[in-house]
Amino acid sequence: MPSTKLDRILFLGTGLLAAYQVTTGIDKLSPGPILAFTIAFGILLLTSLFFLIFGLDGFSSPIPGISSTLIPLSMGLGLVLQHFPRYSTLYLVYTIVGLILVLLTGLIRYHRPIHTITITVVHGIAGLTICIIPAAIVILGRMQFWYIFVAIGGACIGLGGILFSVFRFDPKKLPWKINLHFFPALLFLMTLCYVLGFHFG
């Protein structure tokens, strides 16, 4: 499916925002979170470039599946490392195990539902982490109100993950055109929320 001009503008915007975040948006943090957030925003940047080049046809490749797993996992890890370093080992183990499970189930060619369910679970937990941690931090008064945008970004990535899973699991349940054109906007909105949250929060 060819991408529209608006799709391309949104992918470009996502890439530029992610590049800004990698370059200057996370400079004041300690090395652990910087590494995790660099992975998250770096993959976001590469994914947006991938879609800029291939358009919406890129959804038929394995790249969106890999990205949609790696981005929330590394983002969640970054937030845990930044705000709850006590739980960082536990979350790191979850991140590694989750990633391995997603990769392994992806190798089982004839059991696609298992892979999709694994992605949904791993993605879901990471998405919840990204939603809950910033919200809790703002409620506790440890960060400014704007940091809530990181939680909104988490909600966007969660929504995107669910839609993407349904799309892969049973595409007939969603109208193809609406679904695919929905992703660039969601990706952009998610990145914008992260940048706003990190910058002003």
């Binding site: 370059t23 660099t38 925003f41 770096g42 940047l45 590469l46 291939f54």
Partner: protein, 287 residues
């Protein structure tokens, strides 16, 4: 007036705007990489003029020489010289004039910069286009050397001498060019074959060409990241460069192991985006 506008429109495809623009930008990025005073506009504008004129001139000379083989290839048969829209003699004169103005302008800026830009022109027109392109697939090495000259010239103009960072930046471009050209030649292999132009694909096969692309990408990334560290690029920009370099490496390796025609064209595009982004990093690092 209308005639002049029409002539400019006809000449526009002859200078390959995107490619020339990218090469000019590498030269400006090389200049800015030395943390020059950014508002030294006369020098920056002078470098822009010298590079734009000399690269446009050499591209026109390149097309003038290759007009016979361009006419044989689907991809290039509509170019103004190949299709006969512009008389060859007129194009030759414009190409020579632009090249002369570019090199002369560069010599006026700084003799070393002028010498480097002249070398780039010489390697591109004489060695690459006239002597080697129709004889050996290794001609792209010399095309690569000439492609690395603008950034070397920009750097030399800024620091007043040839330094190892400038050489490394130039090597970055030299190694990037195979990724760019070879992925393109795989896609258009039949076209090149029809015109009798030797390519890596026709000489060594598609597997070796893909391996060459992967190795060249790795070397390009190492050279550019090494130069960025030498320049003292901030951690933030270095992170961005690392992300893009890793992306290029993964893409090249995936395309070597599991190649597809569409993926190869994607790699060609990604290599351009990579180079443009790297140059932005070097350019804005200097602001």
């Amino acid at each position: 007036m209308n005639r002049i506008i029409r002539q400019i429109k006809e000449y526009a495809p002859l200078i390959k705007g995107l490619q020339t623009g990218l090469l000019v930008f590498t030269g400006l990025a090389g200049y800015m990489s030395a943390r020059c005073p950014v508002f030294n506009l006369p020098t920056l504008a002078g470098l822009f003029f010298a590079l734009a004129a000399s690269i446009s001139g050499s591209t026109i000379l390149n097309m003038w020489w290759d007009r016979d083989i361009d006419a044989l290839m689907h991809r290039t048969c509509n170019r103004p010289l190949a299709s006969g829209k512009i008389p060859p003699r007129q194009a030759l004169l414009v190409g020579l004039l632009l090249s002369f103005l570019g090199v002369a302008g560069a010599f006026l800026l700084d003799p070393l910069t002028g010498l480097i830009i002249f070398s780039g022109l010489f390697f591109d027109v004489i060695i690459y286009t006239i002597l080697l392109k129709r004889r050996s697939c290794w001609s792209i090495v010399f095309g690569g050397i000439s492609g690395g000259m603008p950034i070397l010239a920009g750097r030399a103009l800024a620091v007043g001498r040839l330094d190892w960072i400038g050489v490394l930046l130039s090597l970055g471009i030299l190694f990037w060019i195979p990724t760019h050209i070879l992925s393109f030649s795989i896609r258009n292999a039949s076209d090149y074959q029809r015109a009798g132009v030797p390519t890596f694909v026709s000489a060594y096969g598609i597997q070796t060409t893909r391996l060459t692309i992967a190795i060249a990408s790795i070397l390009a990334a190492i050279a550019l990241v090494g130069a960025a560290i030498g320049i003292g690029v901030s951690w933030g920009y270095l992170r961005l460069l690392a992300v893009l370099s890793i992306g290029l490496l993964i893409y090249s390796i995936v395309e070597s192991v599991k190649p597809t025609e569409r993926g190869m064209f994607g790699l060609y595009k990604f290599a351009s985006v990579y180079m443009l982004s790297s140059m932005f990093v070097l350019f804005f690092r200097g602001v």
